[in-house]
């Protein structure tokens, strides 16, 4: 009985060592995934981010085809990298709705002039209210929204060349 008790510390330690060894070899999870996947988009209404383009309301994401909701900002460097891939998606007929986070109209216009404009509408989210509503934790993020206005998929980080087919596939899935 006593001997068994003396084995407890060793057993606990071995459990920890096993766990630590396992976790050391896992890629470190840095992202905080949204818990709103498969949930309907909450009600919202954002002012236009630049003159000459419409703002975004929830109703703009309901009906017709599934869409992409792209959260970005002119001050975000990875957003520059993802711009051509968003254009590629747009050229394949995908509707992309932009949300500019904490951004000034002139900066947004400048960015679009430089790196292209794949969006049909751009809403200005000056205080990250929509971001928080849909569980986004950073910029950029891209969401697949189905025709009923449900959030179906979240891509964290910039859209790369290999993300394009993935997003197309997800859009097809929820059609």
């Amino acid at each position: 009985m006593m001997r068994a008790l003396y084995l407890v510390p060793l057993a606990l330690f071995l459990f920890f060592a096993g766990l630590a060894a396992f976790m050391l070899n896992q890629p470190k999870q840095q992202d905080v995934p949204s818990q709103m996947i498969a949930q309907p988009l909450p009600e919202f209404s954002l002012q236009p981010a630049i003159a000459g383009m419409p703002g975004v309301r929830r109703a703009d994401l309901v009906g017709g085809q599934p869409r992409l909701l792209n959260i970005w900002a002119s001050w975000c460097l990875p957003c520059i990298a993802e711009a051509p891939h968003l254009e590629a998606l747009q050229s394949q007929g995908v509707e992309i709705i932009g949300i500019a986070v904490r951004d000034r109209p002139e900066a947004v216009a400048d960015f679009l002039g430089r790196y292209g404009n794949p969006y049909t509408r751009i809403g200005a989210d000056d205080i990250s209210s929509l971001m928080i509503e849909i569980g986004a934790s950073g910029v950029p993020e891209t969401y697949v929204i189905d025709a009923e206005g449900n959030i179906r998929y979240q891509h964290i980080g910039d859209v790369r060349a290999d993300t394009v087919p993935l997003l197309l596939e997800k859009l097809e899935e929820v059609r």
Partner: protein
């Protein structure tokens, strides 16, 4: 040349560690002392004889290696990769020096240098243990040291050269360019190393089954010393984070903070159980277990801090590959020692018995409570790691640790107040009835008084009540004694326990009474908090040797005191580029005013530019660290007391020996010369 010399010294040290380990282990091979034939014994001694000198020479070499790296940093020798990545010629000289250990490789070198130095001291000075126990201890110590040498040389070579020396270094993390860095981490390392020596001693005693009061007396100064350094280190680290990170928090239960707290908790328990073992020959296996635990916790802390498996605001030199190496060492030492413990522990004879209502009983209770708190901290710290293995991310923070820890801390403080009043072995609680009632009355009175004053959390109330009662209780062991004749070690205990009360008071007061003011202010605007009037005079750019900043000039005054100038800065370091917030503090006996400047906050109605100013008044917050210093000083007094007693005893023995020799001499010449 410097780098090559340093590396050579390290390799030689490692070789000596092998010699120390092998010769110590061979010294063990031949049965217990005296049971062998004359041949066997002679052989054992002839092997073991190398262990001590190996440890002593190793100490010189490892310290030399560290000295050489220090020199390389002092002269900014950019041909060494470590200097290039962590230093910059424009850095103030003091931070060039502290930069030596402000990085992974350098801090590991400091670690092994202190380890070797401690090993050398142990080998060179300690003569009280049985030779066999000493051999086993030195063998284990050599084994531990060898692991760290291997780690250093194979995966973290601090002396690596660059093929081409660049013209300029890339600088030191600005957060680390602070005098707090100069003292905090090395202090912790010394504490960790002290615990590793305690570990070696415990393993030596366990292997040779010599868990005796004499062993406890040898172990005690190492544990006390390590504990003093850990206490200083945690106190300094907490204060450093408090003023350097710029949000006024002094403890956030961050994984790295917990990593430094856990060895301290284990060492505190060990410290008390060692005292029981030394005084009463009880708690034998428990003491050994704690010795292993304390070292495990310091290794675990190193692992958590450096492997990056947990996310921390203090993340430092994170590298998963090194993490694997530390984990392997952890498995080797801790797994190995726990296995030996499982096999050997039952063969250690049970110590002297005692009742629950005795000094030992109280100490055991506190040991158990400390271990439970340690278990909570460990659980809360590692839990996110466990869930991440299942791809679920959770956060465990103050709302968990505070109440869960308090469940065990409150009974512990209660017993801590009265424990020192109890007698050893068996006591009648009725004897201290008066003290018990008086202390309880104080707790209730303070809680009632504060609860009337305002709406405070239960934990703060309990903390305040217990702190005041503990402060009184700390001095009760002195009652009715001639103060001049109270041993130093007892003074140490009184001071440390009083320090706990002071610190607890600071924590409870800070959490209950802090007031905060956030304001967007233009120069000329005024606001107030906690009885202070704060006026922003101007915000202007300033520059330091390797940074620029926006500095606010704030005049703060309260009552009819002269206004005091506060100059918090929002700094931008340029090498490497990183913004930091430099807080400004006014310290009064009853608290601190803490101010930081944030971002621009637009313009006000009159078109003046406004700035975010954040000011806290934190009543008695400084007591947290005063308490920490008192606790550590108590430890120092205790060490001084023990050493003085030891020296006296040794002197007495010497004098007795002398006298006997004199007497013998007298006996010999049968006819003493008649006095003139």
């Amino acid at each position: 040349m410097i780098a090559e010399l340093g590396l050579a010294a390290l390799w030689l040290s490692a070789a000596l560690a092998v010699l120390q380990m092998v010769s110590g282990a061979l010294g063990l091979r031949d049965g217990p002392d005296g049971q062998n034939g004359p041949d066997g014994k002679a052989r054992a001694q002839s092997y073991a004889i190398y262990a001590r000198p190996a440890a002593v020479v190793q100490a010189f070499l490892a310290v030399l290696a560290f000295g050489l790296l220090l020199y390389a940093f002092a002269v900014t020798d950019l041909s060494i990769k470590l200097v290039e990545t962590n230093s910059h010629s424009a850095k103030p000289f003091i931070y060039k020096l502290t930069g030596t250990w402000g990085n992974h490789e350098g801090s590991m070198l400091l670690w092994v240098a202190v380890l070797a130095l401690s090993g050398g001291l142990l080998a060179g000075l300690e003569r009280r243990l049985p030779e066999k126990t000493m051999s086993a201890t030195l063998a284990v110590q050599g084994f531990v040291a060898l692991g760290f040498y291997a780690f250093l040389i194979l995966s973290s070579n601090p002396f690596e050269r660059l093929p081409v020396a660049p013209l300029e270094g890339s600088g030191l993390n600005p957060l680390l360019q602070d005098i707090g860095l100069a003292i905090h981490p090395p202090t912790l390392y010394v504490g960790y190393v002290g615990l590793s020596i305690a570990f070696s001693l415990c393993m030596g005693a366990l292997i040779t089954r010599q868990v005796t009061p004499e062993f406890a007396k040898v172990l005690r100064p190492w544990v006390l010393g390590a504990w003093v350094f850990l206490t200083f280190g945690i106190t300094a680290g907490s204060y450093w984070a408090y003023y350097e990170l710029g949000w006024g928090g002094w403890w956030f239960w961050d994984p790295v903070e917990n990593a430094s707290l856990m060895p301290w908790l284990a060492a505190t328990a060990l410290l008390h159980s060692v005292s029981v073992l030394a005084a009463r020959d009880a708690l034998r296996t428990w003491t050994i277990m704690l010795g292993v635990l304390a070292f495990s916790m310091s290794m675990l802390g190193t692992f958590l801090v450096r492997s990056g498996v947990l996310t921390s605001v203090h993340a430092f030199a994170v590298d998963p590959e090194r993490g694997s190496f530390i984990l392997a060492l952890l498995g080797l030492y801790i797994g190995g020692s726990l296995a030996i413990f499982a096999v050997r522990a039952s063969s250690i004879a049970e110590g002297t018995r005692f009742t629950a209502t005795s000094r030992e009983g109280a100490l055991v209770f506190n040991n158990v409570m400390l271990s439970a708190i340690l278990a909570i901290v460990l659980l809360g710290t590692l839990y996110p790691l466990l869930t991440e293995a299942f791809d679920v991310r959770v956060s465990v923070g103050p709302p968990y640790f505070n109440p869960a820890g308090a469940i065990f801390a409150i009974p512990m403080f209660a017993v801590m107040a009265v424990g020192p009043l109890l007698r050893w072995k068996n006591d009648n609680p009725g004897r201290i009835q008066f003290e018990l009632k008086a202390l309880l009355a104080i707790v209730i009175a303070v809680i009632a008084l504060v609860a009337i004053l305002g709406d405070y959390s239960v934990l703060s109330l309990l903390g305040l009540g217990m702190a005041i009662a503990l402060a009184v209780a700390a001095f009760l062991p002195l009652r009715g004694r001639v103060l001049r004749r109270v041993p130093l070690a007892t003074w140490g205990m009184v001071m440390a326990h009083f320090g706990v009360a002071v610190s607890l008071f600071g924590m409870a007061s800070e959490s209950a009474f802090t007031t905060e003011r956030l304001a967007a202010m233009a120069p000329g605007d005024a606001t107030d908090t906690g009885g202070w009037t704060i006026q922003l005079e101007e915000v202007s750019p300033v520059a330091g040797p390797n940074w620029t900043a926006m500095e606010a000039r704030i005049m703060a005054s309260r009552g009819d005191e002269e206004p005091t100038l506060l100059t918090p800065q929002a700094r931008n370091f340029w090498s490497p580029p990183q913004p930091t917030s430099e807080s400004a503090l006014i310290t009064r006996w009853n608290g601190q005013l803490y101010a930081v400047i944030g971002d621009r906050a637009g313009v006000d109605a009159r078109g003046r530019e406004r700035w975010q100013i954040r000011v806290w008044w934190k009543p008695f917050v400084t007591f947290i660290w005063y308490g920490g210093v008192l606790i550590a000083m108590g430890g120092i007094l205790s060490i001084a007391g023990r050493v003085r007693v030891d020296l006296k005893r040794r002197n007495a023995k010497k004098i007795a020996g002398q006298r006997r020799a004199d007497l013998d001499a007298l006996d010999e010449d049968k006819l003493p010369e008649p006095a003139e």
